[in-house]
């Protein structure tokens, strides 16, 4: 096996180990809560019968390891368990929500990543000039404000004052794509403002860091145009940190949209989790937690592999 392939296999193996650890943490953390879980879940409605029902439902009468193994084997065969709140299968409950969340994250990524990379490159190209400073000030302002605050400002400006956009992003399975995009403009805008600054600033810094290197001076001494020096000579060597920050932000877009989903009443997975925590619907919380964790792990795995693949010194051995 080539060293590159073995490195990738090793990373994937590590990813699975991490996932196993996370699944155990997600599963058992719930049972670390003080008191009897069944009584906690029922709260005021706890009667001996209902408590016994819940205990049977959760399998609390069986040893924890056995329950964990059952849970994992269920997950692997696509059985995520049932919701305590309404008894529906979690797969059915979360399926549409997951699609919604991925759609929103994908839409936001499609806007914010190219935009922020471009802004980062432009800022590096015109560093210390007015355009660079303006981009930086705007980015810093955006990153300094909490998301929900940005969301409310946008609602105030674009919905209340201008009346251009709907303030609620309620969509359902049969909403046509055009309508769906129109309704999610505000959440996407909010997410873009939250994410773009991070990616843009790191892109700029990664490129500017390289500008003092001898091969950049060489590129200038070859009489190349400034944009070519940046795009062809600096950018490929700055890819490793940029890939990492992009992937980190993709993960954030999927995992961290909770606040935005709540503000815009968007029926995504994050909102489902928040609701389920309120309803003490433990199996749903566990399933969504595990999904978010695996998204994080998988995307970081992708970042690791992509970083390796972007380095010719690793890709093309001597």
């Amino acid at each position: 096996m080539s060293p590159l392939a073995s490195m990738i296999v090793k990373r994937i193996g590590l990813g699975f180990v991490t996932l196993a650890v996370v699944s155990a943490v997600v599963f058992f953390a719930v049972y670390l809560l003080p008191g009897d879980l069944a009584e906690e879940i029922l709260g005021q409605a706890a009667t001996p019968e209902t408590v016994a029902n819940i205990r049977r439902e959760l399998g609390l009468d069986r040893p924890p390891i056995e329950r964990y193994v059952d849970w994992i084997t269920g997950l692997l065969s696509g059985d995520f368990g049932r919701s305590l709140a309404n008894g529906r299968p979690i797969a059915e409950l979360a399926g549409m929500r997951l699609v919604n969340t991925l759609y929103l994250a994908g839409f936001a990524a499609a806007v914010s990543i190219p935009l922020s990379l471009t802004l980062g490159i432009v800022a590096a190209l015109y560093r210390e000039k007015l355009i660079d400073r303006s981009i930086n000030v705007a980015a810093l302002t955006a990153i300094s404000l909490p998301e929900f605050f940005i969301a409310y400002i946008l609602i105030f400006a674009l919905t209340v004052k201008a009346g251009w956009l709907p303030s609620l992003a309620t969509v359902s399975a049969d909403t046509p794509l055009g309508e769906r995009m129109f309704r999610s403009i505000l959440p996407v805008l909010t997410l873009t403002l939250a994410v773009a600054a991070h990616v843009m600033r790191l892109t700029r810094a990664a490129i500017v860091n390289l500008l003092a290197s001898p091969y950049i001076e060489m590129a200038r001494l070859k009489g190349l145009k400034p944009w070519r020096v940046i795009l062809r000579h600096a950018l490929p060597n700055a890819l490793a940190p940029i890939i990492n920050v992009v992937v980190l932000n993709l993960a954030y877009l999927i995992v961290g949209v909770v606040v935005v989903e709540v503000v815009f009443a968007y029926p995504g997975l994050g909102q489902l989790m928040v609701d389920s925590v309120g309803k003490r619907d433990v199996p749903v919380v566990q399933a969504t937690c595990l999904f978010f964790a695996s998204t994080y792990i998988m995307l970081n795995l992708v970042a690791d592999v992509a970083t390796i693949a972007a380095d010719p010194r690793l890709l093309h051995r001597r």
Binding site: M218, L221, K222, G223, K225, H233, N237, P312, R313, R317
Partner: protein, 543 residues
């Protein structure tokens, strides 16, 4: 008054550099004339302004530098007022640059051929296919192995000497009128240097370009240049035709450059037979992971004497130092100090054993913590090894500084950034001496220094040896340094010792063939040296 065959003229050129500590004059009042087809040598020590001047010939100044006065006229174009876009058009296509370290100046993320065709294609001189063909033809002229394929490699897949040749080829693809060579062979081993030098010279002659050849090594410039300018502190010291200058330098400074490498360390009495060596290295074998770097290396060091370990990069000489100091435990073999076998790893050695062997490394810049004053750098071993504190430590620190010829009042509270390269290396020596060692391992400690400064360093080491009876293991690739200070010489190649013996015997024939190759590769102060050597080697080569 421009003569028709003049390509480049500078008049009263002044360049200023700005930093936090104010402005400094890097180049002052330089006049320069370069004819078409002529090769001009610029020599001087670091800080003489020769690189700045070379870049100015391209209308380029590094960040923080600016041209404050004078004119630069290239083929009728005034570069100081030409504007960014006009200057950019000239760079690469008509004036090309070959950098000191090709390994750093090639983009690590691009194949060589893509970098080689870039100038011609981007300036619209040729299309991609034409430029690639031209590049391959030049790879062949520069005698690169498999010229058709080598371009498809990335820089890290090619050796340093080959990269330097590829960079010269890259500079020539668009047929520039002028090439600026900025110390193109300084980063190479002596034996590789000759091949690159010969290839550059042939190619320059063949395409008939003008060149500015920058180097700190006079002997090298003499092989390449028709005319030489000597620079110091940004001013012209002397200018003459190469042969005239080599035969009769006029200025005192130029003469001092000629006189370097004449220092000879003090002679030591013959060793009494049967004495226990201070350090005995026996049959050492060491490896990094699976790569063997030392094989079956044995040597003895006797008290008060200097053993020089010579070899090219990759010969294993620095690894030997790492094994002796315990930084890299050996696979096999042993290191004995005063007859007592030392633990393979420094972790297993007593503080007393550690104290007695100290090491000084090549780059004083990276060996000193930039956040620590001279006081901290020297004071730490005094406390750590000798338990000195307060007044006693202060006194000892001042003695040490005086010993390495730095005025304590002036230097004890300085940061490394406030010292010159030579001063930093002196502080490193003082730091090693603070532990009062018996053995000093010096790993290429003069390689990063100018020749005059390096010679001062050797004189200092020689005096310290006489006064303190120190023993040196001196690792170097420079045979002139060996000749100056070694009592015994060990020649290494590919992790093995190929020849060892007293200095005088090593420098007198007959040599081992590899030693002979090393010795004959040292440039001599004679403009015909390279021609003679190449003829000689051609005659010897089996036909």
């Amino acid at each position: 008054m421009t003569v028709p065959d003049t390509l480049l003229t500078m008049r009263g050129l002044a360049i200023e550099g700005r930093s936090e500590r104010g402005t400094t004059q890097i180049v002052t009042g330089i006049d320069l004339n370069l004819k078409r087809g002529e090769v001009l040598g610029l020599i001087g020590e670091s800080g003489a302004g020769k690189s700045t001047l070379g870049l100015a010939a391209m209308g380029y100044t590094r960040d923080g530098c600016r041209i404050t006065a004078g004119s630069i006229v290239f083929d009728g174009i005034e570069l100081t007022t030409a504007g960014d876009e006009a200057r950019r058009r000239l760079r690469g296509s008509r004036i090309a640059y070959v950098a000191q370290s090709a390994a750093a100046a090639f983009n690590p993320a691009m194949r060589l051929i893509d970098q080689s065709v870039e100038i011609a294609v981007q300036h619209g001189v040729m299309n991609n296919a034409e430029a690639a063909a031209a590049a391959i033809a030049l790879y062949r002229r520069m005698q690169l192995p498999s010229p058709e394929e080598i371009g498809f490699r990335y820089p890290h897949q090619v050796s340093g000497g080959q990269l330097q040749r590829a960079m010269t080829a890259m500079a020539m693809v668009a047929r520039p009128d002028l090439i600026v060579f900025d110390e193109p062979t300084t980063a190479l081993d002596v034996t590789t240097q000759i091949e690159v030098l010969a290839a550059i010279r042939d190619a320059v002659e063949a395409i008939g370009t003008s060149a500015i050849y920058i180097s700190h090594d006079l002997a090298l410039v003499a092989q390449m240049a028709d005319r030489i300018m000597v620079l110091r502190h940004g001013r012209l010291v002397e200018e003459a035709d190469t042969r005239t200058m080599m035969a009769s330098p006029r200025q005192a400074y130029t003469k001092s450059l000629w006189a370097v490498r004449t220092f000879r360390g003090s002679r030591k009495p013959e060793m009494a037979a049967g004495t226990t060596p201070l350090l005995r290295v026996e049959r050492l074998t060491a490896a990094y992971d699976e790569t063997p770097v030392l094989q079956d290396v044995s040597l003895d060091l006797h008290r008060g004497r200097t053993v020089a370990v010579v070899g090219e990069s990759g010969s294993g000489k620095s690894t030997l130092a790492r094994v002796i100091t315990g930084l890299l435990p050996p696979r096999q073999g042993s290191v004995a100090f005063e007859g007592k076998t030392l633990a393979g790893s420094y972790r297993g050695r007593s503080p007393e054993e550690l104290r007695r062997v100290q090491m000084i490394v090549q780059m004083p810049d990276t060996a000193l913590n930039p956040r620590q004053r001279v006081r901290d750098a020297i004071g730490r071993p005094l406390k750590f090894y000798l338990g000195l504190t307060g007044e006693a430590r202060e006194r000892r620190m001042r003695e040490l500084l005086t010993e390495i010829e730095l005025d304590p009042d002036q230097y004890v509270d300085r940061y490394p950034a406030e010292l010159s390269g030579g001063q930093k290396q002196r502080v490193c020596i003082a730091r090693a001496l603070a532990a009062e060692p018996a053995l000093l391992i010096c790993d290429e400690i003069t390689s990063a220094l100018d020749q005059l400064v390096a010679e001062e360093m050797l004189k200092l080491l020689d005096r310290l040896q006489r006064e303190r009876g120190l023993t040196y293991l001196f690792i170097t690739h420079d045979l002139a340094t060996v000749r100056a200070i070694a009592d015994e010489v060990v020649v290494m190649k590919d992790g093995r010792i190929v020849e060892a013996g007293p200095r005088d015997r090593m420098f007198a024939p007959p040599h081992h063939p590899y030693t002979d190759l090393l010795l004959s590769s040292v440039p001599e102060m004679d403009p015909d040296w390279l021609d003679r050597l190449l003829d000689q080697r051609k005659a010897q080569a089996p036909s």
